[in-house]
Symmetry: C2
Subunit: 230 residues, 2 copies
């Protein structure tokens, strides 16, 4: 029997390939299909009511993104959470976001950025009090996105998002329910340091924020060894 019970095309992109891609990616990130789970092009095609072609093209995209391992003539599996992948993503995200912070501080007029950050902080206060995790998560993204956009680098944000997805996948396994207040506090530190143009402080605060879940990984690897590859 399959690992999949019932699937539907979730997102309505343009092409079938896009929709299948978004659907499968969402399932991977939410751990509805788990690392090392075996996938089958024909099975997904049947479940989704499409042909193999868009499924295959979606799988190829997901392999490029590092979420699937396609073994020729053999099979396709959800990529295990690799220590190397984690280190790589961690490094890349730090490199991006710290460089963005530096730019944000060099900005001649950062008032608009500061307003945007404050707006998200207010939202996060509310979401934290209401324990609305998904809304908090969304505002979290907007917070980081705002920095990229106001630096005049809107194209960089999708790239940050790309590596962020991998980190989120790791973090999803070790998610602690009540980390919203801590994250909010870290965001406050980042925002205040940026707006007061304190570079050292801003870089430090962002580093702390981005590394917050690092020490939890090995615990998760012990708890779910079948997900990991170390």
């Amino acid at each position: 029997m399959s690992v999949i019970e019932k699937i539907k095309l979730r997102v309505s992109g343009q092409s079938l390939t896009d929709r299948v891609h978004d659907t499968v990616l969402s399932m991977i990130l939410r751990l509805e299909i788990k690392p090392r789970d075996r996938l089958s092009e024909v099975q997904f095609a049947k479940e989704l009511g499409v042909s193999r072609t868009p499924v295959r093209e979606a799988f190829l995209r997901l392999e490029n993104l590092g979420f699937l391992d396609i073994i020729p003539q053999s099979g396709t599996v959800v990529a295990p959470m690799r220590a190397t992948e984690f280190r790589k993503s961690q490094f890349m995200r730090e490199a991006f976001e710290l460089a963005l912070v530096r730019r944000a501080i060099e900005l001649e007029d950062n008032s608009e950025l500061c307003r945007a950050l404050q707006r998200q902080l207010k939202l996060q206060e509310v979401h934290s009090e209401l324990c609305d995790e998904s809304a908090f998560f969304e505002s979290d993204e907007e917070f980081h996105k705002a920095i990229a956009l106001h630096c005049g680098l809107p194209d960089v944000w999708p790239e940050v998002q790309r590596v962020k997805m991998h980190m989120d996948r790791f973090r999803f396994v070790v998610r602690s329910q009540h980390e919203m207040p801590a994250v909010l506090e870290q965001h406050r530190n980042i925002a205040s340091a940026i707006c007061s143009r304190n570079e050292a402080e801003a870089l430090s605060a962002m580093t702390v924020h981005l590394r917050r879940a690092n020490h939890l990984i090995e615990g998760a690897a012990k708890k779910y060894p079948e997900y990991f590859e170390l």
Copy 2:
């Protein structure tokens, strides 16, 4: 008549898709097919003696990489050199390589890295004297690659390479024949600053190096406006 005269599969990867991908990418980077040139899946399939499928899959990969624009039901064109793409790639490469330099300097034992850098410098001296551009280019890559590898981040190098390709495409248009001595000098500065663990100097030298071609872009855009999209 086609923009393509005679093509052969150049690289012998594993799958046909891989080979087509490498072939077309090489043609794009060498400007054998030019920005805004119209491509056709069927035409390439015929020329290369394969079916549409591997060509299509290669095209999709190249679209993801940002080298092709696929317009549904209309056509596929080589992506023009976009100012936004240039800024993005420039930012990303700086973020990566500066972060790598920081790590290299924090390395407890960087003797091996320094030896590797010196080795490439020696090679570059020779290649520069012999005016062997392609060999110099190769050693240039190895120089930057060495930094990533000796930081214990081998997985990051392919990512650097990925954004580097875009920059190289820009630089190919504005290539000045006799820049090898200047590049060699910049490499020397970088290597000596890294090996003497002078962080500020190393970052500055790397920044200068990575930005060396920036001011030439607008000239190139005037000379070949049909390649660019500003």
